[in-house]
């Protein structure tokens, strides 16, 4: 299952670090694929992905695909930001509850209202991937 990949100009303002473990996630995002970890012991998922299940502390985790679909729980528009984000101001960030029962914080790319359906979209910057959320198409 893959989501849209939107080509972006320029570099990310504050690029996330990658560990041997989290690079699997970021490499997936670069291809429009959202994945996270699921525990083989308690069968619960986690986000961000973690090498240890935060629910039961088992290290028997494996990767599982996410639909990238959910609803907008809350959002705000930031008008005063850190130096690195000055060029983006104002920008909107928010909290998305995914269909799989996980809560994610990300950039909100449009004016979606609370409790409306959204979808994650990969943002392919010149130096690597990020992601955001936007109003889900009506047919989904």
């Amino acid at each position: 299952m893959t989501n849209d990949v939107q080509q972006m100009t320029g570099k990310r303002a504050y690029p996330p670090r990658k560990s041997e473990f989290t690079q699997v996630f970021w490499d997936g995002v670069a291809q429009g694929r959202f994945r996270t970890t699921k525990c083989g012991k308690c069968e619960r998922t986690s986000f961000p992905p973690k090498p240890i299940c935060p629910h039961c502390w088992s290290d028997q985790v494996s990767w599982t695909d996410l639909s990238g679909h959910g609803v907008l729980y809350s959002a705000t528009t930031v008008h005063a930001g850190p130096a690195a984000f000055a060029a983006d101001l104002p920008y909107r960030v928010g909290i998305v509850d995914l269909d799989e029962g996980m809560r994610v914080a990300t950039r909100i790319l449009d004016d979606t209202k609370l409790d409306e359906p959204v979808e994650l979209v990969a943002l392919a910057y010149e130096d690597g991937p990020l992601y955001g959320a936007r109003r889900a198409p009506a047919d989904k």
Binding site: S46, A75, T77, H79, P82, F85
Partner: protein
């Protein structure tokens, strides 16, 4: 000259050997005496006093906690701009500011240098040049300590953790008197640069920071959700800022004291929607010293003091957001920490006369008031607008002016909150005094109220 230990005195909670050669009395926990053969006790006293000691006989009756701890005194600098270098190269230095407050606070407490045996500091900002500030100050004040000397850190809860840890030193019998103190100098650094650091604090550096979340953006999302769920309004929420400014006008150490109307608040440029400039905290420098002591010491001073009647801490195991969707604006940790503190104090929320709440934004004060049971769910904003949380109202909140008007030098902010309740419960609130104030709380947090610490404080005449 051979006998140095005058006597082993049984006090409420630990034994004390008054050594005439030292200014500092030596305390023992009863457990020490229970374990020690008299030979070992003699060895110990020899190291401490440099002399051979004759030991009186003593009796042990089981180990007991120092249950009751009191706040005896305090001193706080006005919140505002202190950091920075003038044209002639002169600047205010953190340790000079704080040392002066230590002396003031001790005088306020009616105690002396030799009574103090522990100092728990808030971690200074990285902009403070002097590193290892706690031990630097132990030297600057030339203060030997049997209780811990350290710096603690836990986001906006930092000062409350220092306060709690100072209490713990007394409760564990390491000292009779401890200081909770700190200095927050940060205004020498511009905001956009400061945010480059703070954006790495309130969230996940790899999964939140890259999107541009700022500390207050999380609270803004609380406000948006609150308005959405409870049919509240920006106006009602903003009334908290107006109310707190009114309180601050009567607080001589407050940073912002000019009169301010609701229209003034609403007219400001947006910072994190729906919150505008006057609904989010400004930046400031500050320094505070509080004196805590066992209740027997407090009684010995003959002065009014404040008893730490109850305490509660809870961390919900999340940071900014819970990865499992939950009711983000119910502030679970504040609920639990409050319930723990009330249980520990043997009171209910309705017994309170006032509350100082750590609330960097208007909305936070509302949500905490609801979580603690000071206002019904969904009614906090309305009740603030109605004056129920003003001085003179049903339950005055943030009589100091709170973070928005008293000011928010973050790593010492909550020390100002304890100081305000100390002043109120000693009847020193001036024009903002809550009449007959006997029982107050201080509530602090970290993250998006993912953890909370509540102290119930009681006036003792």
């Amino acid at each position: 000259m051979g006998v140095v230990a005058g006597a082993i005195v049984r006090t409420n909670d630990c034994f004390q050997i008054a050594c005439v050669t030292k200014k500092y009395p030596i305390f023992f926990m009863l457990s020490d005496l229970l374990n020690a053969k008299s030979r070992i006790l003699r060895e110990y006293l020899q190291v401490r006093t440099g002399r051979v000691i004759a030991l009186p006989t003593y009796r042990m009756e089981g180990v007991r906690l120092n249950e009751n701890v009191a706040i005896l005194g305090g001193a706080a600098s006005p919140v505002g701009k202190m950091q920075g270098v003038s044209e002639d190269g002169i600047q205010q230095l953190e340790h000079e500011v704080l040392a002066k407050l230590v002396v003031e606070a001790l005088a306020d407490a009616g105690l002396e240098k030799s009574d103090v045996g522990s100092m728990i500091f808030t971690l200074p900002r990285p902009y403070t040049q002097q590193k290892y500030f706690a031990t630097f100050m132990a030297n600057y004040l030339r203060l030997p300590c049997d209780g811990l000397v350290m710096e603690v850190m836990g986001n906006g809860m930092t000062p409350a953790l220092a306060f709690q840890t100072a209490i713990d030193q007394v409760r564990l019998g390491r000292t009779k008197v401890a200081l909770a103190l700190g200095v927050n100098f940060e205004t020498g650094t511009p905001s956009a640069e400061h945010m480059m650091s703070s954006m790495r604090a309130t969230g996940d550096v790899d999964f939140h920071t890259p999107f541009g979340f700022t500390p207050i953006s999380w609270y803004a999302m609380d406000a948006v959700r609150y308005i959405h769920e409870h049919n509240s309004s920006r106006e009602d929420i903003a009334s908290v800022a107006v109310k707190n400014r009114r309180h601050a006008m009567d607080n001589p150490i407050a940073q912002y004291r000019k009169p301010m109307s609701l229209d003034d608040v609403l007219a400001q440029r947006p910072i994190v929607e729906p919150l505008g400039l006057f609904e989010v905290p400004g930046r400031g420098d500050g320094a505070v010293c509080l004196v805590v002591a066992s209740e027997d010491v407090a009684r010995g001073t003959g002065k009014p003091f404040v008893r730490v009647k109850g305490e509660g801490f809870y961390h919900e195991g999340a940071h900014q957001i819970s990865e499992m969707p939950n009711d983000m604006i119910s502030f679970e940790a504040a609920k639990i920490a409050g319930a723990k503190a009330f249980l520990n104090a043997g009171i209910s929320a309705k017994n309170l006369d006032l509350a100082e709440i750590y609330a960097p934004c208007t909305i936070v004060e509302i949500l905490v008031a609801e979580a603690l049971g000071l206002c019904p769910r969904g009614q906090g904003a309305r009740q603030a607008a109605n004056g129920e949380t003003s001085v003179g109202g049903r339950i005055p909140i943030c009589t100091s002016g709170g973070l928005l008007s008293r000011g928010h030098p973050a790593y010492v902010t909550a020390l100002y909150s304890y100081f305000e309740v100390l002043e109120q419960l000693r009847g020193r609130g001036g024009a903002r005094q809550v009449s007959d104030a006997e029982l107050g709380i201080v509530c602090t947090e970290l993250g998006n109220y993912n953890a909370a610490m509540v102290h119930v404080l009681e006036a003792v005449a």
